[in-house]
Amino acid sequence: MISDFPRAPLPLPDEAEVDSALAAHGGPAMVPADRRRTQFPVITKEDVFTMLLAQRQEPEKVVAGFTEAYRDYVGAGYALPTASGTASLHMALAGAGVRPGDEVIVPAFTFIATAQAVVAAHAVPVFVDIDPLTYCMDPAAAEAAVTERTAAVMPVHVHGLPADVPSLRRLASRRGLALVEDASHAHSARIGPHVAGSIGDAAGQSLMADKNFPLGGEGGMAFFATEEGYRRAVRHLREHGIDYRMSWVAAAFGSSQLGRLPYYDAVRARNAELLGDSLERTGLFTPPHVPEGWTHSYNMYRIGLRPEAVGLGDLDPHAVKAAVHELLVAEGVPAREWQNTPLPFHLPFRERSGFGRGYPFTLSPAGSREYTPEDFPNTLRMLDSTLVLCRELRAPVEYERILRYRDAFAKVAARPDAVRDLAARQEVPHPYERAARLG
């Protein structure tokens, strides 16, 4: 039988290990090589039993039951289940009234699907920079990008922190734009009491199995504030013969996972807090910024670097980051670069062939706009000076594992000499000068 049950437990942390030789120098790794797998999603007997029950129901009822339960959880007016997050974003845009040739303002830093969904809606993505603290769309940059062809702003709640929707809402009202959320990282994330997905005129959200709220494979959900928006999206599907339906197999899995989502959210919040407190004490590292009143869902956990705090201020930030990255990975902390190139420099947005012959980019002057890296200084600075934890914080990892991650950061931060040596030995290009990593 192939099972995901872990073969062996992690040893409990030991303070002495923080002072041991770095793993990169031959010392013991904080997380041993054979214990690094982080299981996600967590699949329980409830998931299996719910799936077997679903087999005996009408498939449409399984999907509809799940959709209604999740719509209610999010607090959105209407919900449309889809086969993927990308499809849900396409539907959100269609429901929000985005038409061929319209411009939609999106952040330059997000997963490529955000902008591809705009193209799927036969509209033109217009890229703007992010806020340096939240890493979400900068409302001032969005405002500056509005033209008479702009139909919508589509902020992304990057990594699970809701974007500055209040400011963007004011902008949208002032300029007569639709506000469409990409809530793909932000399950259960909130601004005050309002759950991501229920805040905009419409929203799309990925529910693929590697998201905080995982379905049994691929899936997504589009949310609409009004019945009119919902109906417009449904009509769009019918008119164009598009099949974006969610499988009942994915939905059944979501039904049981939804019951446990608050539990997993609480574990993520607890682990994020534990790690954040100890990162603050390292000097070198900073935890994610969460504005007062905002609830982060920690789909990803972006860690900032402060080289100057440990006497490395004379080095290039991206060289420090590369060295720290290498040392952390050697310790068994799978820190990552998630996306290292602003979206306009990814191949499909450099070439802009779209559906073919440049459609829909040819429909709007914004479709031929040339971007330069200097258009996105905050994105570049973030890419140069931060690292991300993904599944390591998303999964409800064992307590001893989160403690060992904590200790690994402390161990590396205590060795600026090693960081300096490594940084001096390597010629490191800026992240955005390397291949555009999608994930």
Binding site: S3, G241, I242, P348, F355, A435
Partner: protein, 209 residues
């Protein structure tokens, strides 16, 4: 398909912990690909999450894009609407751009014969009727059709099972518009089971439901 067999498949895959389509260790998607290529005697299969995704992949795979034209005679009104939405006109004449085969539990065993009759460069095989939600495949002998279709369904990436960079040795294979048309391993596992059963209808399944 017998409920018991579906239950076994679903439980087996969920116990493995691998339910994600981009998981390196997934065996269900390649398993279904192998079965389909064998049954249709085509060299490549592209699994996708709906019939319309397969139509899109079959066209994009052949480089048929916005502004092009294909024969529309044999297409259903829905398919024609979808093809038009892609910007492809359906007023052309000549051989069809793709053949279509829709399978359900009753006709699933006809796949080999129907594939043998198909003449277009790509076959759209609709697996939705098997009962596990929207699912489909494009079958082709043309490696370029396959390579382009694979990249359409996963944001230009090379394949489903690698963490990817966009560093592309063949940039002209990368479609401009890209979707998430990925099929779920759980759905693929069930579809494969259903197709296998059609080949051994009389074998005891362990249940009399």
């Amino acid at each position: 398909m017998e409920l018991f067999d579906t239950a076994m498949v679903l439980t087996r895959v969920m116990t493995s912990g691998v339910v994600m389509s981009i998981e390196k260790s997934d065996r269900e998607l390649p398993g279904l690909e192998r079965l389909l290529t064998k049954r249709t005697k085509r060299s490549h299969a592209v699994l996708v999450n709906s019939r319309t995704a397969a139509v899109h992949a079959a066209l994009a795979g052949q480089g048929i894009v916005h502004g092009d034209r294909i024969p529309g005679g044999s297409l259903s009104p829905e398919t024609r609407a979808f093809v038009n939405w892609l910007g492809v006109e359906t007023t052309g004449t000549g051989a069809p751009a793709f053949d279509e085969i829709a399978l359900d539990a009753h006709v699933a065993d006809s796949l080999p014969e129907r594939a043998a009759e198909a003449t277009a460069p790509a076959i759209v095989v609709d697996l939705t009727g098997l009962g596990f939600g929207p699912a489909a495949a494009v079958l082709t002998d043309d490696p370029t059709v396959w390579a382009r279709a694979e990249r359409l369904k996963i944001f230009g990436a090379h394949d489903l099972r690698t963490m990817w960079t966009q560093e592309e040795s063949m940039p002209d294979l990368v479609p401009g518009v890209q979707f998430n048309y990925r099929l779920s391993p759980l759905v693929a596992a069930c579809a494969r089971m259903a197709l296998m059963q059609t080949a051994r209808k009389n074998v005891e399944t362990g249940a009399r439901l």
